[in-house]
Each structure stands twice: as C-alpha cells, then as structure tokens.
C-alpha cells in the first residue's frame, strides 16, 4: 500500500510518554517569501538544508515547479515538500491534459490543501504557492494541516519572522517587477543572517502574466567561501620511507575441469 | 410491459390542494380479508405510491424510495422534494435496463404527494422515464380511466371532490372486467385535509365516494348520451 502507515502511531505515542526519545524527521529550517507586483508575482527562498544542527546541503533548491507558470516555495520536512510537490505537479499536468486548459493556481492550491488535510499534518509541508494563469497572478500559502491563506505578501519557515519584518516595513502597493524581486531577496537575506536554520544563497522565481516563468537560481550569493590564504597540503616525501616489502597476497590457481564426452547412445531395436 | 398492461387499474389525480391515489383491487379469492392487503404505500410521510404490475417489484421500488427519502432528510433535515425524489428513482429504475443480469421493473408507479412547492403527481415507467401529470392512470383499465380523467377540471378540483371522482373512474374502468369483484382503495395527501401527510381516506368518505360512483353509474345507464362535460 502506498502512502503513510499509522499502524504504530499509538504505540509510539505511548513509548514517548514513557520518556524515550523519538527519532527526529529531517527538517529544513528555512526562509521562504512571496510577493505580488503589478502584472505578476515573485517567490524566493534560501538554500540551506539542515539535519539537526548540521548543515546538510549548502545550496539546495527549495523552489519547485508545479506547472510551467506555477511555482512553489517549500519549508518544513524536506522529503515531504519534495514529494507532495512532485505529486501535485503530476496531477496538475494530467488535469491540464484532460481539460485541455492551462492549470490554475487555485487548482494547485486546492489539490495541495486536500492532500495535506487528508494526512492531518503528518506531512510536514509548508508551502508558498504562486503563479500566473488565465485569471491573472496569484499568491497563496498552505500549512501542513491543510489551511490556506491569501495575501499580497507571504512568508513561511523558521526565518519567516525575520522576513516578515522586512516585508511589513518595506512592502508597498503597486510595486514594479524589479522592486518586488529586490524586496523578496532582501527578506530572504534577513532570514539568512538572523535565522540559524536559514543560510547560504537566495533563489528567486518571477512569474509575469503572459510570460514564461523565470527562475533566478542563486540570485544572491552573499556567502561565497573565500579561497584559503595558504595550502595545508603536505608536500610529497614529508614522511620518510624506512622499509619496503612487496608481497603477493593473491594466489592465482588454474584448474581445468574436463567433462567426459558422452558415449555414443545405445540404440536398441 | 405486458405485466403492467394487464395489472389492476391505478389512478392518480392532482387537485388544486393535494393529490389522490386510487387502485382497483381485484378480489381473487373469497378467503381474502376485506380491508387487508393494502396496495397503496407510503414512501415518506408526505409521499404516496400506487402501482400496477408485478407487486413484489412495486414493493422493492417503494423500499428504494424510502431509502432515498431518508438519506436525503438525514443530510438536509427537511423532507425530500418530490421532483428530486423522482429524479433519483428514475435513475434507479433506468439502471435495471442496463444489465443482462437483471430484468427491468415490472411496474408502472404513480407517485404523488405534497411538498414545500405544493402538490405533485408523477408516473414512472419500467424504462425509467417519468412525467408530471395532473391525472395519471395505468393498468388494465387505463384507457377508460384516462378519457374520464381528461374531463376533470383540475384547476377547480379539491381533493375531497377528487376522491369521489377517483371512486367513479375506478368503477367505470372496471366495466370491461365486470365478472370479477373488486375492492376500492383510496389515499390522499393535502395540506388542508391531512396536514400534508399521505393517508388512507376515512371510512365514511370512502363509503360516500363509493355511493357517489354507484349513483353516477346508474344515471349513466338511464341516458347514455347525456354525459356531463366539465372542462
């Protein structure tokens, strides 16, 4: 059976209540934002993936394509955002083919929220979903439990507070494309600097009405590793060779087995 | 369809304030208890059914109607509307024409009642088609019954009058089958008379209707030509 199994859910709850630690799911401490502008919408994300207090990936991709002109920024459990996003992308494509129409953002959002609600929050996917369709530009967000919000600007993830602070002070109505991209990048940067779970670079995706979506991978790279001043390699010959011995550690044996040729068959009358 | 064509006559009348259903029950045996073996059934408190044809099929049809009605009212907390119920029953009956493992229903049912939008009368066939009627008839005597129904003035007719006419029409439709005895069964459903519930008419009204039918019949015998035309 595909999907999640809840067979041991109650047992695990019981074991945890007894004081045993629960294995932790890999979570991407993340900053993601989205913002509308005149004639389109832009979303952005940082590129740090964490596993506990370890940085698992310094330049991961958190912007997912649901449809050519509908993109999604994901926070929460990395595996869940990736898989749920792939599933919905697949279903959206089928939906588009069945109906011979371009998929709409509201369709993607409804599919996401119904899927996430079905799993009652056990799929830890927090998404900002944006795009352009025949009805215009849209920006919405979905939480893991299946609730959705609509707004002119959104932020999600552990760095959402830092990002929201930027959005709340610098957002204004009727922005241009460039203003919106800059604002989103700045909001993500705020997450990168001020939130431990977020870091590395800024990815941006711009969706304009009537145009193809534009993914600006590593739009900002404020954390380029500086080349080391010195080489710490040991020069060849640093360790003196005192003795040398070479041995055959594999014996090669050849055995030829010859099978007896079958004797001529006896043919009785 | 053969089963229906030769079944006992059933009629329905939609009056201005409600509906009346009536059936002619042929008495096949002297041992049958009069007044028992009811043929008109109730789907919901406000909906009644009379049918001609294979009686077990009719009962199955009514059971399905009851299921549909209760499913609806469990969800929406209000009595099912009759047009909507007919929609559902139409689908159900039609389904029995689609598969070679089942045979179509052997009944034509007349469904009548009163809902929030007033009185309704429908007749549904084994094919699943149904039509709304002011006067409906099915079974052996349907031709006679139909021509008699056409003479009624439905705009002015009250259920109380319709009960009498129903008795008369059933009696007339029975003419061709005079060798067999029959028992009359009439139900009605109206806001004024029954508070919107589908019920059997009271015994005194039934007797009055039977008497009326008999007198009309006697009159007709006296001067065949002078049939009153009420349009």
């Amino acid at each position: 059976m595909a999907g999640l199994s809840f067979d041991n859910y109650q047992r695990n709850q019981y074991i945890c209540a007894k004081g045993h630690a629960q294995p932790k799911a890999t979570s991407t401490g993340t900053t993601i934002v989205g913002c509308k502008f005149n004639g389109g919408v832009v979303i952005a994300a940082d590129t740090r993936a964490t596993a506990g207090n370890i940085v698992a990936d310094k330049n991961c991709e958190k912007l997912h394509r649901l449809a050519p002109r509908i993109w999604c920024a994901g926070a929460g459990t990395a595996a869940d955002t990736e898989m749920v996003t792939q599933l919905i992308a697949l279903n959206l494509e089928l939906h588009g083919m069945w109906n011979d129409r371009q998929p709409r953002v509201i369709t993607a959002l409804t599919m996401l929220k119904q899927h996430l609600f079905k799993y009652q929050g056990h799929l830890g996917a927090y998404l900002i979903c944006a795009g352009v369709d025949p009805t215009g530009a849209h920006l919405m967000s979905v939480q893991a439990h299946g609730s959705t919000d609509i707004g002119e600007y959104q932020s999600l993830g552990s760095g959402s507070l830092a990002a929201m602070a930027v959005l709340e002070t610098k957002w204004k109505p009727n922005m241009t494309r460039d203003e919106a991209v800059l604002l989103c990048a700045e909001a993500i940067e705020s997450g990168i600097w001020n939130d431990l779970g977020s870091g590395s670079n800024v990815d941006v995706c711009v969706m304009e009405v009537g145009k193809d979506a534009e993914l600006l991978r590593n739009y900002l790279t404020p954390n380029v590793r500086a080349p080391k001043e010195r080489s710490y390699k040991f020069p060849r010959g640093t360790t003196a060779i005192l003795r040398e011995s070479i041995r055959e550690i594999v014996d090669v044996e050849e055995t030829v087995i010859e099978f007896n040729k079958p004797e001529a068959m006896e043919v009785d009358a | 369809m053969k089963a229906v064509e030769n079944g006992s006559t059933s009629i329905g009348i939609k009056a201005k304030d409600g509906v009346v259903l009536a059936v002619e029950k042929i008495v096949n045996s002297k041992l049958l208890v009069p007044g028992k073996n009811k043929r008109i059934q109730t789907i919901d408190r406000h909906i009644g059914v009379a049918y001609s044809g294979l009686l077990p099929d009719g009962r199955h049809f009514v059971n399905r109607g009851r299921d549909e009605a209760s499913t609806y009212s469990n969800m929406y907390k209000e009595p099912v509307s009759i047009p909507h119920l007919m929609d559902r029953l139409g689908l159900y009956v039609q389904n029995y024409t689609c598969y070679n493992s089942v045979r179509p229903f052997g009944v034509v049912s007349i469904v009548g009642g009163v809902d929030a939008n007033g009185p309704h009368l429908y007749m549904i066939e084994p094919s699943g088609t149904y039509w709304g009627y002011t006067g409906a008839a099915t079974g052996k005597g349907r031709q006679t019954a139909k021509s008699e129904l056409e003479k009624l003035n439905f705009e002015e007719l009250t259920v109380r009058e319709a009960v009498k006419h129903a008795a008369r029409i059933i009696r007339q439709a029975h003419e061709d089958n005079k060798d067999k005895d029959y028992e009359l069964e009439i139900t009605w459903c109206s806001l004024e008379e029954t508070g919107g519930q589908h019920q059997f008419v009271p015994e005194d009204l039934l007797q009055e209707a039977i008497k009326f039918a008999q007198e009309e019949d006697d009159e007709d015998d006296e001067d065949e030509e002078d049939t009153e035309m009420a349009t």
Binding site: R11, T110, K113 | Y76, K77
Partner: protein, 217 residues
C-alpha cells in the same frame, strides 16, 4: 485500547488556529456577519488580514472559528454539497440557510472526534429572510436571533444580551456588531486586526471592512 490513551482534545502541534471573535445578527433587511481577522500559530500571527467569513452559496455565509484547516475543509465540503443540492432545485430557487446549517451540523457531528470547528452559519433566503444558526464544537445546532462565538466572544456575552434589539436598522446593526467585536478584540489576545462584515439581504451581498483606528474610536 490496552490502557494506551492519546489526548486528542487539543490542537495538534503547530496547527494554525483561529483564536477568534465572530458573530452573526439578524436585522430588519436580513442578516449581518462579523469577524476579526487574526490567525495565530502559537504566539505568532500567521495572518493579520484573514477572511473568516466564507461564502457557502449566493446569500449563505459562515463564520469560522477553531482550527483553520478543519473549518476550511468543512466549509469546502458544505459548499460542494450545496452546489449539488442547488442543482436539483426548481429554476430560480436557492437553498435555504437551514439546509446549509444542517449539512454543517451533520459533518461536524459525524466527525466530532477529528474536528475542532465552531461555526456560525447565517444567510438570507426568500422564505425565512435572515436567519442564524450556531454549530458549536460537539456538532449540535441552535437557531438564534443572533450568535456569537470564538475565544473573544466570552467577553461580550453580557454586553450583547443587554444591547441586542430585534429588527434593528442597517446602521444600528452595523454599529452593534462593530462595538461588540471591538470590545472582544480589546479583551481577547488572540483576536485582532480589522473587523470584516458581510451583509446578506434581498439585494444580495455587501462587504464592509473597518480598520483599527475607526472601530477603536
């Protein structure tokens, strides 16, 4: 089950909730629904301009309180049921508020173990004019002249009881709701933002919005 018990009577961890002040009031021309606009995740305001007044049919709306995910899902399902129901009605007729509220009640009751949803369903229909139904957490249903719900409502029970009048005029009713909700917002930490209203009358739907500087004055 083996003495293992799980406490389900709380919001799941990290769940978005509508700590809320919502109300619906019948008045002369129909009914008015009102709500604050705050959505919270723990102590963080996830959305300060939420729309908790959700359309179910042409002139039937609901106010949502409790879990955002649960109430949105339930409202979506009821909306679907009502579309199916409306398609079966005679031309020109629309579903009654009572039918909408009954569907809410049925869903909230049958799934009571899994839902945290307190809903007020209000609407205008030709037969009953404005009507208000309250469907609190257990899945019961109560028809009322006016209803209040959500965490902020506890602070305004007395005020509403004292000041509610039957068949109020439009402006009088708007002021009644505005004052009630502004008190609820003042005293309840998890209510706030703007005050949204929806007026449902014979003429259709009208939306109003009031910003803090106006309703606090």
């Amino acid at each position: 089950m083996n003495g293992i018990s799980v406490d389900i009577n709380h919001l799941k961890k990290g769940e978005v909730s509508l700590g809320t002040s919502i109300m619906a009031v019948t008045y002369k021309d129909g009914v008015i629904l009102g709500a604050d606009s705050r959505t919270t995740t723990g102590t963080y305001i996830a959305n300060r301009v939420t729309d908790k007044l959700t359309q179910i049919h042409d002139t039937i709306y609901c106010c949502r309180s409790g879990s955002a995910a649960d109430t949105q899902a339930v409202a979506d399902i009821v909306k679907y049921y009502l579309q199916m129901h409306a398609s079966q009605l005679p031309p020109g007729e629309t579903p009654t508020t009572k039918v909408a509220a009954s569907v809410f009640q049925e869903i909230c009751y049958t799934n009571k173990d899994g839902l945290t949803a307190g809903i007020i369903c209000a609407g205008y229909d030709k037969k009953n004019k404005g009507s208000v139904y309250s469907i609190p957490i257990g899945g019961s249903i109560h028809q009322q002249e006016y209803a209040i719900a959500g965490s902020g409502s506890t602070f305004i029970y007395g005020w509403c009881d004292k000041n509610y009048k039957r068949d109020m005029e439009r402006d009088e009713c708007i002021t009644f709701i505005k004052t009630a909700l502004s008190e609820a917002i003042k005293w309840d930490g998890s209510s706030g933002g703007v005050v949204r209203m929806v007026l449902l009358t014979e003429k259709g739907v009208e939306r109003l919005i009031f910003y803090p500087d106006e309703y606090q004055a």
